[in-house]
């Protein structure tokens, strides 16, 4: 089959379009991989951080509970006569 200059030009353009499509697919693939790994890592860090935060808050609450109890004890009058 004779190949004219027009055929060659069209072939070049088709290859250029093919190259761009392949590049686009590769880009979407890379973006997907990055989003999956990077953001799952970020999410894990955030979950850990919030868990730590919750532990600290719970600790504070239990400490303040103990403090309250000791204050209550100190303020409550005892039946024992003072010397």
């Amino acid at each position: 089959m004779p190949v004219s200059d027009l055929h060659k030009q069209k072939a070049k353009k088709n290859y250029a379009v093919l190259g761009m499509l392949v590049a686009f697919i590769a880009l979407i693939f890379v973006v997907t991989i990055i989003k999956m790994s990077y953001y799952s890592e970020k999410g894990r860090e955030m979950r850990e951080e919030s868990a730590n935060q919750a532990q600290v808050t719970q600790g504070d609450e239990s400490n303040s509970g103990a403090l309250n109890e000791s204050i209550q004890e100190a303020l409550t009058p005892t039946d024992e006569p003072s010397e």
Partner: protein, 302 residues
């Protein structure tokens, strides 16, 4: 050269040689693209939460912004190919020179617009992608197809299209739009008329020949010069707003005051003289001004 002769040259050039990659690159209006990318990056840079985004996604989103701006430029060149061929400033563009077929330029622009919006949405978020798509449509439909050949306010209203990039950058990081990116939008919006009219002052004969109703053609040079001065005066306090509202620090505040002050001076010089040298100087300074202003915003944000 008469219009007929130019049209003949256009027809003759069509079959002269095949397109090159550089011709398609020229379709993207690289100089306009650089300003769009820079202002978009500034919006992204000052947005809170940038550190939480992977650098590769930032690079790809900026690429999407650049390609989208270029694609809008390609569609603009397709639509304006008749007037581009009769204007000295634009007759060297790929379509009037016959280096790229008009239909190919159109499909190139549409495909690139679609893919750039898709990439922005997939990479970062759909708010940024939505603003990007809106900016593209605004430039192509509202400015190029509707306003440009109908009203001297073409670049005043159409200038909004070029003002969206900082908003896109900001939304790409935060997923929303707040007052700060709106101020950055306003800066570019009010900067566009004096910037463009400075160009149209010394390219007035081109616009007359192409029958584009630029302000310099319909209202005359003197009226346009006054309006340029008014816009630079309006722009002055707007550029100070990020500092006054606490979005930026003293580095930006001082830079904005100096740069905007000198912009007013260039407008006064244009008004006081008939020498087109000052209009050229003002056009050149306006480009530097916007770069410097956004650089100051970025430096200040750290």
């Amino acid at each position: 050269m008469s219009n007929t002769a130019t049209a003949e040259l256009y027809e003759a050039n069509l079959t002269e040689r095949e397109s090159r990659v550089s011709d398609y690159f020229a379709l993207l209006k690289p100089r306009v693209m650089s300003l769009v990318v820079f202002s978009g990056f500034a919006g992204l840079w000052v947005a809170p939460g940038l550190a939480d985004i992977h650098p590769f996604l930032i690079i790809v989103s900026m690429l999407a912004l650049a390609v989208n701006a270029g694609a809008a430029g390609a569609i603009n060149m397709w639509y304006d190919r008749d007037i581009d061929a009769v204007m000295n400033r634009t007759r060297g563009r790929p379509i009037p020179m016959g280096r790229v077929d008009a239909d190919e330029a159109l499909s190139f622009g549409i495909v690139m617009s679609f893919f750039s919006v898709l990439v922005m949405g997939l990479c970062l978020n759909w708010v940024a992608a939505g603003i990007l798509a809106f900016a593209n449509l605004f430039y192509v439909v509202v400015y190029t197809m509707w306003l440009k050949r109908r009203t001297p306010q073409n670049i005043v209203i159409g200038g909004a299209a070029g003002a969206f990039p900082p908003m896109v950058g900001w939304a790409a990081v935060t997923g929303d739009v707040t007052l700060f990116p709106v101020i950055l939008f306003a800066i570019i919006f009010f900067w566009t008329p004096p910037h463009f009219w400075a160009l149209s002052l010394y390219a007035n004969s081109d616009y007359k020949r192409a029958k584009i109703p630029m302000m310099t053609v319909t209202a005359g040079a003197q009226s346009t010069k006054w309006q340029m001065l008014i816009y630079t005066l309006i722009l002055f306090p707007i550029t100070l707003m990020p500092y006054m509202l606490g979005f930026s620090g003293i580095v930006y505040g001082l830079s904005a005051a100096l740069l905007s002050g000198f912009f007013v001076v260039t407008a006064v010089r244009v008004l006081m003289s008939d020498d087109m040298k000052y209009a050229r100087l003002m056009f050149g300074y306006s480009v530097f001004y916007l770069f410097a202003l956004f650089l100051a915003v970025m430096i200040d944000a750290g």
